[in-house]
Amino acid sequence: MLKYFFIRLLSAIPVLFLVILITFILVRLAPGGPFDQERAAPPAVLANLNKQYHLDDPVVVQFKDYLVNLLRGDFGPSFKYPTRTVTEIILTGLPPTLELGLYALLFAMFVGISTGVMAGLKPNSAQDYIPMTIAMIGICLPSFVLGPLLILGFGIGLEWFPVSGWGDSPGDKVLPAITLGAAYAAYIARLTRGGMLDVMSQDYIRTARAKGLSPARIVGLHALRGALAPVVAFAGPAAAGLLSGSFVVETIYQIPGLGRFYLQAAFNRDYTMILGTTIFFATLIILFNFISDVIQAWINPKLRQSLSK
């Protein structure tokens, strides 16, 4: 069991290496470079810049140097903001993104699971159709449509929540969290519903009913753990997706998060910044998937036993 998870962790190393390699090649294949500007700089200046950042070395050497620095925990300097290192930028952008992702995940879990359970308990009734239709719309609606709609309705129309900012006024975190979490909530609702339908038709639920247990106890204790298995499997990638996919929401609501730096880095051909954030997000994705695997093993004793094969 522990051995299995140890091997899983070790297998992250080649995955990360491939991610670095592919990103490294792709950013250099893309046309343009970090120092291209509307007005071209004199060739002598460009050569100097390239020399300073070792961009005139052979690509293989650059890659080797980058890896060596990386192993020391150094993501290198940003090409666009020469006074700051990539690590610094990530660390300043991370807290809002983490916070936003956390709220969005909590929102998605709470809303998704509760509506999914409701729908799954009375399939093919109004209690099922109405939330599931809304969920379908939620999945289809991209956040750059939902965000402005929410701003229009709850921000400008009803004036319940501020329309932008982060931590400046109370309640300004509500709309971004909902915008980011909506699609995930909808997907989790559908997964939960499917899981509930599946579990509630199992023989052991019949046994639980024959024991005279209350419906709440049957759902909470006997059904939910099995029904949430697909949700837990999805939660890992979802958490990673919430963090790495928040740049649209961060842009809409003017949140100084990591997603915006990521996007700008791509526009600016800020090689080290792109690589740094990509590696950072890749690590997060691997980490969250790993956590989700651990939780899955925890809720399923049979899986726990078969894992070390």
Partner: protein, 549 residues
């Protein structure tokens, strides 16, 4: 004293396809300290009837239309869900068919037992735990302190059913409803569980409703019996009266269909007519020769820190021949390795063998292509025809495929060949465009047999082909298999856990236990004087129709 009196119970299901009356004006009485058997084939309404009493039918689509069920002065059918919950699992407890799926997989046995007790009794968890230990002792679980922390999948089928029974008894119920409690179990385990239920029934003075399809089982237990068919009670009598002189034709046909009482009479009748010649030639020539066949799996045993690998020999150094034209029976309990052996013989599984020859071809030397060509002569029939037929293939597609692949038919005579196959297995030709789900279990097994026959094989491996079928259908399929093997001069390896079926069908029998063949011989000789102690134990565990004088 009557414990439960059910009168005129009617339950209907309102589905999109129409209204079905699952239980139709059913009446019966369960007396305190007595066992009432409810007997019927699948779809007879025997389970729905008892689930209706306990408010356990899914509703909608199910609806209890009328009737009353008096239990301790209360009409169960008039109680609200909340009131009924106080009775369920308290004064009326239930056990179910498949103990594999009937316990919550992610809760320990101890948690589930303690829960069952505390829902109905105010007590500390320590008191409930002591109570759980006591009932587990009573049903014969050993090493209880440790087993309380184990999960259901860590128990064997028989042990799990004991746990189910313990969970039912923990609240000292007055009435126990047992829905096919031994159907999923091996015959020796079944015998133990039946004995356990009987003992507990006496010591606790329980009223029991025992639902089953198996007349032999119920004849050993019940005081009274109700026979159900299509939702109606066709006959109700004391067990003695019912088995001595069954009144209703349906009851008579059920009793007649029990393979054991219909022993080998049909088999020999056909053989005298058609079999003499074949048998005389065949006796000397084995179609299948197996020597020293073994198949092992590696198992991993886990704890949190270590994993130990260990070899598990599913089949251990087995040798036998199958002669041309004979039906060789292979009996054993679940886990004995009989299915693994069956599959290894035709190399669906790769095993180690000194000799594995079929029709003078060394099967082990064949490459992938040759093996695929050889498969034409080696066909299988499986237990669950619903699972083994492609749901998106019509009968035509299912049968056309092997006919075309093996070049038995071409485009011109395909339809004619398929029709001949349908005639052979007794299916009407008009069904040719239907899909598997449109057929009954027995018809599906006929399709599966037709598919196996299609490439005109020499050897058929039949793996529990009648285990999923009702007893009257089972008798028909056995009859069909017998007829077809004679007609086409087929050789068959017939794998089954059901000794009565094997005795009825097979010329010779092999008994398998823990991967080894412990005894083989002519069917009648083996059944009348078994030499091996395991065979003896197995034979004595067969439930037989018990009719007291």
């Amino acid at each position: 004293m009557s414990l439960l009196t059910v009168s005129n119970l009617t339950t209907r299901f309102y589905t999109r396809e129409g209204i079905t009356t699952a239980v139709d004006k059913v009446s019966f009485t369960v007396k305190q300290g007595e066992i009432l058997g409810i007997v019927g084939e699948s779809g007879s309404g025997k389970s729905v009837c008892c689930y209706s009493l306990m408010g356990l039918i899914p509703s909608p689509p199910g609806k209890i239309e009328s009737g009353s069920a008096l239990f301790q002065g209360q009409d169960l059918l008039k109680l609200s869900e909340r009131e009924l919950r106080k009775i369920r699992g308290n004064s009326v407890a239930m056990i179910f068919q498949d103990p594999m799926t009937s316990l919550t997989p992610h809760m320990t046995i101890g948690e589930q037992l303690i829960e069952a007790y505390r829902v109905h009794n105010k007590s500390t968890s320590q008191q409930a735990k002591l109570r759980a230990i006591k009932v587990l002792q009573e049903v014969g679980i050993t090493n209880i302190e440790q087993r309380m922390n184990a999960y259901p999948h860590e128990f064997s089928g028989g042990m799990r059913q004991r746990v189910m029974i313990a969970m039912a008894l923990i609240t000292e119920p007055k009435l126990l409803i047992a829905d096919e409690p031994t159907t999923a179990l091996d015959v020796t385990v079944q015998a133990q569980i039946l004995q356990l239920i009987k003992n507990l029934q006496i010591s606790h003075n329980l009223g029991v409703i025992f639902i089953t399809h198996d007349l032999a089982v119920i004849s050993q237990l019940a005081d009274d019996i109700v026979v159900m068919k299509n939702g109606e009670v066709v006959e109700a009598a004391t067990a003695n009266a019912l088995f001595r002189s069954p009144q209703h034709p349906y009851t008579q046909s059920l009793i007649a269909a029990i393979p054991d009482s219909a022993k080998p009479k049909n088999r020999h009748a056909i053989e005298v007519n058609a079999g003499d010649e074949i048998k005389a030639n065949a006796a000397a020539t084995p179609l299948v020769e197996v020597k020293g066949l073994s198949k092992s799996y590696s198992l991993t045993q886990n704890t949190w820190f270590f994993s130990k690998k260990r070899e598990f020999k599913a089949v251990d150094n087995v040798s036998f021949d199958i002669f041309k034209g004979e039906i060789l029976g292979l009996v054993g309990e679940s886990g004995s390795g009989k299915s693994t052996l069956g599959r290894s013989v035709i190399r669906l599984l790769d095993a180690d063998a000194n000799v594995l020859r079929i029709d003078n071809t060394d099967l082990q030397s064949l490459g992938a292509d040759d093996l695929r060509r050889a498969r034409k002569n080696l066909q299988m029939i499986f237990q669950d025809p619903f699972a083994s037929l492609n749901p998106r293939f019509t009968v035509f597609d299912t049968l056309a495929e092997p006919l075309l692949v093996h070049g038995i038919a071409n485009k011109n005579n395909l339809l004619q060949k398929i029709n001949e196959l349908l005639d052979d297995v007794g299916l009407e030709r008009k069904h040719i465009r239907k899909y598997p789900h449109e057929f009954s279990g027995g018809q599906r097994q006929r399709i599966a047999i037709a598919r196996a026959l299609a490439p005109q094989p020499k050897l058929i491996i039949a793996d529990e082909p009648v285990s999923a079928l009702d007893v009257t259908i089972q008798a028909q399929i056995l009859e069909l298999l017998l007829e077809l093997t004679q007609k086409h001069g087929l050789t068959m390896l017939f794998i089954s856990h059901d000794l009565s079926v094997v005795r009825y069908l097979c010329d010779r029998v092999m008994v398998m236990n823990k991967g080894q063949i412990v005894e083989q011989g002519e069917t009648e000789a083996l059944f009348s004087s078994p030499k091996n102690s395991y065979t003896q134990q197995l034979l004595s565990a067969i439930p037989t129709l018990k009719v007291s004088a």
